[in-house]
Amino acid sequence: MLDWFLTYQSLFAFIGINGLLALSVYCTLSCGQLSLANAGFMAIGAYAAALLTLRAHAAFPLALLVATVVPAIVAVPLGLPVLRLRGVFLAIATIGFGEVVRLAFVNWDYTNGALGLVAIPQKTSLWMVWIALALALYVLGRLRGSRIGYALEAIRQDEPASRAIGIASTHYKVAMFAFGAALAGLAGALEAHFTFMVAPSGYGFGRVVDMLVYAVVGGDAIFYGPVLGAAFLTALPEALRGAGQAVGLAPGPLRLFVNGAILLAVILFLPNGLVSLPEAIRRWRMRRMPRAPLG
């Protein structure tokens, strides 16, 4: 058991980090906004923390704190104009922000441009990742049923109507945008000190799409859905590799194919995400039940 745990330690760390990233996207989804700026915030957090520990020899907790706070501070002036946009326009504007951040790091000599920073001290341990994830889940869980939680739900369902009953929707949207940025920055810092390196290529458009897919596959109707999605999608390739080895298949493109097929099946049959699985099973059973004879 311990052996097994040690073998998969990094898998568990990545599940936690990806869970944080999925929650960072959920923050904006929870008030109905599709923002794709989170890879950019993750890059800011990762670089800020790595520079602090690598160049300034700062203590790791301080580096984590800075990596959490700085993206949130950047998010506020960015969010105020950008969150006035809706739907696809917001998505495009935030993709633009992500690309600007990535290109800035590509062209910054101090951080070795496209090569990025290497030999970052390994300071992240598994428990830190999971405590960070647990805290994020706790905060989002306590928001449910609170005055703020109801306000977010109202904004998500009908923003103009929410404003008519006195909810300052822009404040809430910007606050959740900044909270999401903080989580992405923290995840970036934890990952940088786990993999020893940061490079701009790790924070491109593909990365934010991954985060969004975690949230969608897990289900964004409830706060823990995105974490389920992240865990499922992070563990799936490993599970398939194990399964392939067990039946004697050589690792290869087949695994990617199966991975994609499972993803597609989840999206087709569970459009509300993995969190809706119990509900889907119940409905399927109801349908299979023999009908009572009439009269």
Partner: protein
Amino acid sequence: MLLSVERLVRAFGGVRAVDGVTFAVGEGEVHGLIGPNGAGKTTLLNLVSGMLEPSEGIIWFRGERIDGRAPHRVAARGVTRTFQNIRLFAGLSAAANVIVGEHLSRRSMLWQRLLLLPKSRTEYEQALDNALRLLDRVGLRDRAFHRASSLSYGEQRRVEIARALAASPRILLLDEPTAGMNRNEVASVEKLIRQLADAGHSVLLVEHNVRLVMEVSNRVTVLNFGKVIADGEPKEVARDPEVIAAYLGTGE
């Protein structure tokens, strides 16, 4: 005067949907706003509630100018509304819709909630109690935990009124509360508006059902093509030749 509107204009391109409208609503008054289709009634309500900015003119509310303010600021001053095409939060229960409406009257308990302080729990129970009391008032106590989208049309309307009341507004704007209702539903809304009036609420009522407006209002303003054609007590207004012409046509 609680609410007064002075020479209000709202133009959409070349069309002046509201064209120099002046009227006032007193404290504790039910003020009816009627007029044929396209007279500018809903536009006027949108201007007062801040959902639209006026092109010209002033809106005073309790001695303060509220024209051009964002809707949530207008709501915070004590103006809440319902919508012609009901806009409930469909995925939430009736009670949750009303709790959302309490946003302005509740304080944020986030820190207490994060620290699991018992105070936050009683705060939530108070919010729920209050929501249930309001639902009781509109006759929907037994439907409190049904999804808003599963309620009948008339019930949804009444939930929307309860949600607007939850903010403890100084004036309630009702945009065609009986639109698309059957007779029983109209009767229940009529009863509700009378109860609100008896309880001393100020109401600005936009309505197609002229009989209902004439019966429940203290004062009526009639609009046609964006302009006020009559303003006064229901009895005077009903006799006004211009009003009769606007509703029935002139026969020429």
